[in-house]
């Protein structure tokens, strides 16, 4: 399966979607000029992946900022994962947040409320 690799910039997160290496990862800041254009390759990849996913799928979210326009796109990713989970696949969302960032922690808890998928909430220290 093809790999999606998008380098991180000031206003768009870094993305790595690599089935062979078992890495599904998005990290950084998200305030793209065109939210739909940025997130559509990720959503398309997930559609493809969901046809034949790994035995266990871990998806890591490690944002330190996203705007409200991106928050909807993040939910779209989670809904695709939820769909796979409902089809009986083993899915785990790992939500990483800076240990001094209550808002990012809460954002993860809210997503965990909205979608029905197992969530791990993991704090990390910002350098």
């Amino acid at each position: 399966m093809k790999i999606v690799k998008i380098p991180e910039t000031d206003d768009t997160p870094g993305v790595m979607l690599d089935k062979d290496k078992d890495i599904l990862f998005i990290t950084g800041r998200s305030l793209p000029e065109d939210v739909n254009a940025f997130f559509s390759p990720i959503l398309e990849w997930l559609d493809e992946y969901s046809k034949e996913p790994l035995e266990k799928t871990n998806f890591d979210f490690k944002f330190f900022y996203f705007n409200t326009a991106s928050s909807k796109a993040i939910l779209d990713i989670l809904l695709k994962l939820e769909n796979m989970y409902q089809n009986g696949y083993d899915i785990m969302v790992r939500w990483h947040y800076p240990d001094d960032d209550e808002d990012m922690k809460e954002a993860g808890e809210e997503y965990a409320d909205i979608v029905d998928i197992p969530f791990q909430h993991i704090s990390y220290k910002m350098e």
Binding site: D11, N67, A69, K72, D101, D103, I114
Partner: protein
């Protein structure tokens, strides 16, 4: 006010208004079109300002957040209008200042008068909600995904009030029978 209705000197207009506010240090003032490049430039200026001032991380993050949402509001919702034979593109004014207790982000843009009642109701509604109610509103809005047909940035405003814990301050200054100037002031406390 009268002169401004013909030549739209937004900056003077907003400065007059601003002088009535408590003001210690202006970090940024801008009048013009808000593009994505402008948003990037402003956030990076204020970020480096706050870094120099050793502003705590949570404050920096909240100011950043409010700035982006307010700037994107202008870029998405400012009206282009014809006034006195001139086309005035969808531009806005933008100002960031700080005093001992808070940062203030002031943004302004032209709005159609027919959108004002809904916007006023929406702002009043958000301002009267407690934390838990705002959280539920946010979750409902993000699920239903009705962002564009809302006539405003539903999610953005809710999010700003949740993150700052402060009510939104809004003003509407009439321009003519079709348009007004909408000013939004957001306060971000510095001692979170």
């Amino acid at each position: 006010m009268k002169n401004n209705t013909t030549n739209l000197g937004f900056l003077e207009f907003i400065y007059d208004f601003y002088k009535t506010m408590k003001c210690d240090e202006i970090c940024l003032v801008y009048e013009g079109e808000i593009t994505h490049q402008v948003i990037k430039a402003f956030t990076s200026i204020i970020e480096s300002n706050m870094n120099k001032a050793d502003e705590p991380n949570p404050v920096q993050r909240k100011v950043f957040h409010v700035m982006v949402e307010c700037l994107q509001n202008i870029s998405k919702h400012a009206e282009s209008v014809h006034i006195s034979d001139k086309v005035v593109e969808g531009k806005g004014i933008y100002l960031v200042n700080k005093d001992n207790d808070s940062y203030h982000v002031l943004s302004g843009n032209i709005i159609s008068n027919n959108k004002i009642p809904n916007l006023k109701d929406f702002i009043t509604n958000i301002n009267n909600r407690d934390r838990e109610e705002l959280k539920e509103m946010y979750k409902k809005q993000i699920k239903e995904g009705r962002l564009s047909d809302k006539g405003g940035a539903g999610l953005g405003f809710i999010d700003i009030v949740r993150k700052t814990g402060k009510a939104l301050e809004s003003h509407f200054f009439p321009i003519d029978k079709n348009f007004s100037f909408f000013v939004l002031i957001v306060t971000i406390p510095r001692n979170l």
